[in-house]
Symmetry: C2
DNA sequence: GTCCATGCAAATGATTTGCAGTATC
DNA sequence: GATACTGCAAATCATTTGCATGGAC
């Protein structure tokens, strides 16, 4: 997943923010690991490879900024770390949320895209007078390697 | 929502754990606020009303214990506090998860019960070889008072 | 009486913040 | 050149832990 530097620069300028190497590098670090869910510390280590002078506080501040700009999404797997991944809004496209399967044994996190939730949202909106604009779903269980498909053959 | 003290005592003893006032009181504090999502600090304050000697560390340790015993559930709304609510496993009954509508304006949290997710779980199990055993859903939006039903009449 | 549970105070660890120097516009 | 951004170190704050005392069984 590549970052459109020009588009990001434009967005920053629009908001009266400055374009800095640190900001671009943090965003590109996250973009370079599309299937990971990086912690601030991990992003810090990644950026340090090409820009050793960066400070951890800058990473935290940048992450917060990019999140506010909707360029990245924040997620938590309740292991004590906030995690980040590329945002889902591309140009004018509609949101295409992906959710997470979390393996209770090995901790692996698998992302999946789903549209079934739209239906649920509609239902909620009608019944509760609640206008849903976003959702987050986590499914916990066991992945293939950890016995996900051995449901029937348990008991060994 | 009342706590069946005898049943809880039995459960604790079964596990070789001791029955203490603190443990019962923490559980009852949580049970006494079925529509709230209490933080450790809030539970601490509640229990202190009837048992002023209790320490915050005990509340944290007890919460952890009750969570492991599946008597309470942990949830996080990403505001920096872990929150707790009564567990959903009642006797031998099947789980009946409820999920959360979180208002982005007033912060109100509305719980709702849903079974549509079962369908989604089945789908995932088949396609990804993933055996889902639990799920967590958060819907973000605007509640009735904050304009949830004004979707059409927006503008101005 | 044994050993687990508690209360207090101190430790931990992710994240935030103050401030002086630095880079962007 | 003004002002926003950065790096460093110190501060914050929810949660955890060590240890001596107290309570359950």
């Amino acid at each position: 997943m590549a970052v459109d530097r020009e588009q990001v620069k434009r967005l920053l300028k629009e908001k009266g923010l400055k374009v800095t190497n640190q900001r671009l590098l943090v965003l590109e670090a996250i973009a370079s690991c599309p299937d990971e869910h990086l912690t601030a510390e991990e992003i810090f280590e990644l950026v340090k490879l090409s820009y050793p002078e960066i400070g951890l506080a800058t990473v935290y501040r940048t992450i917060q900024l990019l999140n506010e700009l909707k360029l990245i999404d924040k997620i938590s797997f309740d292991d004590g770390f906030a995690r980040y991944e590329m945002g889902n809004t591309r140009d004018g496209e509609q949101k295409h949320h992906h959710h997470h399967l979390i393996c209770l044994k090995c901790g692996r996190v698998i992302s999946f895209r789903d549209d079934l939730l739209e239906e649920l949202e509609q239902k909620i909106a009608c019944t509760a007078g609640f206008h849903v604009v976003d959702h987050e779903v986590k499914l916990y269980g066991y992945c293939e390697e950890c016995g996900g498909d051995l449901i029937e053959e348990k008991r060994e």
